[in-house]
Amino acid sequence: MTTLIRANLPVLVVIAPLFVAFILPPLARRIRLVEALALLGAVLGLGGAGYLASIVLTQQENPFIYQLGGWPAPWGIELVAGSLGVFFLLVVGVSVPVLLFAQGNLAAEVGGAERVTRFYVLYLLLVGAMAGMAVTNDMFNVYVLVEVATLSCCGLVSARRYPRAAEAAFTYLILATLGSALVLGGIGLIYLITGHLNMGFAAQELSRVWLARPHVVLMAVSLIVVGFGVKAALFPLHVWLPDAHSTAPSPASAILSGLAVKGYLICLVKFLYGVFGPTLLQEFAVHRILTLLGGVGIITGSILALTQEELKRRLAYSTVAQVGYLILGFGLLNVTGLAGALFYLASHAVIKATLFLAAGAMLAATGKRNVRDLAGVGRKMPITMAAFTIGSLGLIGLPLFSGFIGKWYLLLGSWEAGLILPAVAILAGSVLCAAYLLPVIRAAYFAPAPEEDWPDPGRPQKLALLLLAAAVVILGVRPGPFLELAQKAAAELLAFY
C-alpha cells in the first residue's frame, strides 16, 4: 500500500482534491460532511506534497518523474515533481488554513447550503488545478489546467449574489479567456516548430531550431508572456484584478490573491526557463522587459493601493505591486534573484492570505469596508488585528518576517545582474507598502473605538489566522527547507545558462 502510494504520489496530489470535489455535490444537504470532506481533500493534497517534498529534498529521487498510464515521454504525458514543482505544491498548502477559515462564515457570505457546496467544489477544483500546474510537464496540460483554474476562479468571484461581483467575474472571465487563448497560441507555435508538447523535449528541440525561425520563437515568447501576464495581473494587464479580488467572498479573495495568481506565475516560469531557456530570453531581451514591467508595476501598483479607501481594494492593488516583485525577480536571470523571487512568491502567498482573511473577518464583524471606519478594531478584535499586523510587517519586509528574506535575495540578485534601478524600485515599494498598510494598523490600535461590539471571529477562523501568521514568522526566522528548495529550483532552472 505505502509503496503504491509512494509510486503514484505526483498524480495523487493532484487527484485528491479533484476527487473530493466531484463527490461533494450530491452531499449538499449534509453541510457538515461537505465541510469536513473539503478540508480532508485539501489536507490530503498538502500531506502528499509534504511527503513528496521530503523525497525530493533528501535526493532519493529528484526530480520525481511519473508517467501517466505508463507511456514514456515524448509519447505519453509525464508529471515531474522537481524542486520547483514540490516548492509550489507546498505553497498550495496555503489552501488548508483558508479553507478552515471559510468553514465559519461562508454561509453568511454566499448564502444557502447548496451555494456553499458549490463554493467548495470550485475551491477544490482550483486547488487541484494549482497542484497540477506544479507537477505537469506537458504544455497542453498546462492549458487545460489553466482553463480549469480560470473557470473555478470566476465561479469563486461570482459566488456572492451581488451584481458588482458578477460584473467583476465577467470582466475577469473575458480577459482570462483572452489570456489563455494567447497562451494556447504560443503553445501552438512552439508545437509547430518543435513537434513536441513535452516541455523537456520541446526545450531540446527549440535550442536546435530557434536560429532558423527566430520570428516564430519571438512570437511564441510574446504570446506566452502576455497571456500569462493577463492572468497573473502583470502590471499594465492588471485591470481585472482589483474588482475581482475585492468583490469576491473573503476566503475566495485570499485564495485568488494568495494562490491563483501564483499558479500562473509558476507556469510562466516553467515556460520561460523550462522551455525557452535563459539563453533565448537573453537573446530577445525578454528578461529586461520583465524586470522593467516588474519595477514599474511595483511603483504604480503601490501608488494605486495608496489611493484606495476600501481595505480590500487596497489589498488587491497591493497584489498588483507584489506581482511586480516576482516578475522583476524572474527577469534578473541569476540564481540569487530567481530564488529570491520564488521565496517571495511563497512568502506573499502566506502574507496575502493572512491579510485578506483578517480583512474579511473585520468586514464580517463590523460591516465597514473603508480603512477610516475601522478605527479601534484592534482593541475589539485582538487576534484578527494581530494577524493583520504580522502580515503587514511581513509585506513591508521587516527582518524576522518572511518578506525580508525574499527582498534580501531580490536585492542581492539585482546587484548581481548589475542593475540598480530594480533595487530602488524594490525599496521604494516597501516604503510605499508601509505607507498604505500602516495607516490601517494605526487606525485599528490608536484611534478611539466606537461603542459597538465587534467580536473576534469563531474558533476555526481564529485558528486559520493564527496558523497563517505563524507561517509568516516561521518563514522569516527559519526559512530553512523552503529557501533551500527555492534555491535548488532556481539553480535547476538556470542550469544550462
Binding site: 528574506i405 534580501w408 546587484w415 533595487a423 525599496l427 516597501s430 505607507a435 526559512p479
Partner: protein, 481 residues
C-alpha cells in the same frame, strides 16, 4: 553571556508583562517597569565589565542564509551604557510625569520594548542585527511619539515613521551592497571593506549616510525631529539624547570605523565632504534654534546641532577626534536628558511652553531653574561640566586631522549656544511671576526632580573628574586604532 541575553530580553519581557497587566493596576505596573529597566541596566553594566576585561560575548543565529549576531565591542558598550543608564532615569522621571495621564499601559509597554531595541542596536555584532533592531526601534517608538493621540501628534507620527522607514530602506540597500562587496557583515575582525578601493564606494558611503542620517537628523533629513516634539517630554528626552538619534549617530560611527575603516575613508572624496556638511548642520541648527519661541522646539534644533559635533569628530578620522566624539556622546546625553527633564517640569508645573512666557519661573521653581542654568553652561561647553572635555578633544582632533576650521565652527557654536539659552535663564530669574502658588513639593515633582538633579551631578562629576569615563573612551580608541 547570560547577562547579555538578559539585558536584551528584559525590556521585551517587561513590555509583554505590562501589556498583560490590567490597565488599572498602576502600582504593580510601576514596580514591573522599574524592575525590568533596573535589571536591564545592571545587566548592561555586567556586560560592559566583561567586555572591558577582554572577553568576547558572541551570540549568533541563522536567519535564512544570513547570520544574525550579537557581539558587543567597546563602542557598542559605550552606547549601550548610555542608553541603559539614562533609560532608568527616564523611567523614574516618567513615573512622575505620566501620573494620571491617559494610555499609560501602552506607554510603558512600548517604552520597555524600545529599551530592548536600543540595547539591541548597541550590542549588535553585524549589520543584519543592527538593521533588525534599527527597524524595531522605529516601530516601537512610534506609539510613544503619538502618545497624545491629537491630530497634530498623529501627523507628526506619520512623518516620523515615513522618514525613518524610508531611511531604513536606503540603509538596507547599502547593507546588501556591503554584503555583496565585502562578503561578510560582521563588525569584529577589522573593517569590512578594507580590502581595496573600488568605484562606487562613494555611492555606498552616500547611501549609508542617508540611511543613518535620517535618524541622526543630518541637515536636509531632519524634518521629523522638530515635528516629533509633540511627544511627552520623557519620550522627547529619549528620542533626542538617548535612543533614536543616537542610534543614527552610532550607526554612522559603525560605518566609519567598522565598515569602511579610516584608511579607506581617507581616500574617498565623499568622506572628505561629510565633516563640512556636519559643520554646516552644527551652525544652521543652533542658529535656527535661537529663533524658536517654543522651548521644546528650541531644544530640538539644538539637538540637530549637537549631534553633528559627534559626526564631525568621527569624520576627522583621527584618534583624538574619535575620543572627542565618544566623550561628547556621553556628556551630551547626560546633560541633554536633564535639559529636557527641566523643560518637562516647567511645562507640567506652570504650563509654560514658550520662552517668552518664562518670566519669573525661576522664582517658583528654583531647583529646576538652577539645574537648567547648569545644563546651559554644559551646552556652551564650559569647564565644570562633562561636555567641555568632549569639545576639547573634538577641537584637538580636527586640528590634528588637518581640518582646523572645524575647531572655529565648534567655538562659534558654543557662543551661539550661549546667546540662545543664557537669556532664558536670566529672564526666568528676573521677571515677575504671576502664579506664586506653584511649588516644587509633592511626590510627583520629586519623582521628576530627583533624576534631573542626579543627572546634573553626574554631568558635573564628569567635568571635574574626567578620569571617571576616560577608560571607556580609551577602550574605544584602542579598539579602532
Amino acid at each position: 553571556m547570560l547577562a547579555l541575553v538578559f539585558a536584551l530580553s528584559s525590556g521585551i519581557i517587561g513590555g509583554l508583562l505590562v501589556a498583560a497587566l490590567p490597565a488599572a493596576r498602576t502600582r504593580l505596573r510601576n514596580m514591573v517597569v522599574l524592575f525590568f529597566t533596573g535589571s536591564g541596566m545592571i545587566c548592561s553594566w555586567l556586560v560592559a565589565r566583561q567586555v572591558w576585561a577582554g572577553e568576547r560575548l558572541r551570540f549568533a543565529g541563522q536567519l535564512g542564509g544570513l547570520t544574525f549576531c550579537l557581539d558587543p565591542d567597546p563602542l557598542g558598550i559605550v552606547f549601550g551604557l548610555i542608553a541603559a543608564t539614562l533609560w532608568f532615569f527616564t523611567v523614574v522621571y516618567s513615573l512622575g510625569y505620566m501620573a494620571g495621564k491617559a494610555h499609560q499601559r501602552t506607554y510603558y509597554a512600548f517604552l520597555l520594548v524600545a529599551f530592548s531595541a536600543t540595547l539591541g542596536v548597541a550590542f549588535s555584532g553585524n549589520l543584519v542585527a543592527l538593521y533588525l533592531f534599527y527597524e524595531l526601534l522605529t516601530l516601537t517608538t512610534y506609539p510613544l511619539v503619538i502618545q497624545e493621540r491629537s491630530p497634530e501628534a498623529m501627523q507628526a507620527g506619520t512623518k516620523y515613521l515615513l522618514y525613518n522607514l524610508a531611511g531604513a530602506a536606503v540603509l538596507l540597500l547599502a547593507i546588501v551592497l556591503t554584503a555583496a562587496w565585502g562578503g561578510r557583515l560582521d563588525f569584529v575582525g577589522g573593517p569590512i571593506l578594507a580590502a581595496g578601493l573600488k568605484t562606487g564606494l562613494n555611492w555606498l558611503l552616500f547611501l549609508f549616510t542617508v540611511g543613518f542620517g535620517v535618524k541622526a537628523a543630518l541637515l536636509p533629513l531632519h524634518r521629523w525631529l522638530p515635528a516629533a516634539m509633540v511627544a511627552p517630554t520623557p519620550v522627547s528626552a529619549l528620542l533626542h539624547a538617548v535612543a533614536v538619534v543616537y542610534a543614527g549617530v552610532y550607526g554612522l560611527l559603525r560605518v566609519v570605523y567598522s565598515v569602511f575603516g579610516t584608511t579607506l575613508l581617507g581616500e574617498l572624496g565623499f568622506a572628505a565632504l561629510i565633516p563640512w556638511v556636519a559643520a554646516g548642520t552644527v551652525l544652521v541648527g543652533i542658529i535656527v534654534a535661537t529663533q524658536q519661541d517654543i522651548l521644546k522646539r528650541r531644544l530640538a534644533y539644538q539637538t540637530i546641532s549637537h549631534l553633528s559635533y559627534i559626526l564631525l569628530g568621527a569624520f576627522t578620522l583621527h584618534p583624538w577626534g574619535l575620543a572627542g566624539a565618544v566623550l561628547q556622546m556621553i556628556g551630551y546625553a547626560v546633560l541633554k536628558t536633564a535639559f529636557f527633564f527641566c523643560a518637562g517640569i516647567i511645562a507640567e508645573q506652570t504650563g509654560v511652553t514658550r520662552v517668552s512666557q518664562m518670566g519669573g519661573v525661576g522664582r517658583s521653581l528654583p531647583k529646576t531653574m538652577v539645574a537648567f542654568a547648569v545644563v546651559t553652561l554644559g551646552m556652551i561647553g564650559m569647564l565644570p561640566l562633562g561636555t567641555f572635555w568632549g569639545k576639547f578633544y573634538l577641537m584637538k582632533g580636527s586640528v590634528a586631522g588637518g581640518k582646523w576650521p572645524l575647531a572655529l565652527v565648534l567655538i562659534g557654536s558654543g557662543i551661539i549656544n550661549a546667546v540662545c539659552f543664557i537669556p532664558v535663564v536670566v529672564r526666568a530669574f528676573r521677571d515677575e511671576n504671576k502664579r506664586l502658588s506653584i511649588t516644587e513639593r509633592g511626590v510627583r515633582v520629586t519623582l521628576m526632580l530627583v533624576p534631573t538633579m542626579l543627572l546634573v551631578v553626574v554631568g558635573l562629576g564628569m567635568g571635574l573628574f574626567p578620569g571617571m569615563v576616560w577608560p571607556a573612551v580609551q577602550a574605544v580608541v584602542d579598539w579602532f586604532f
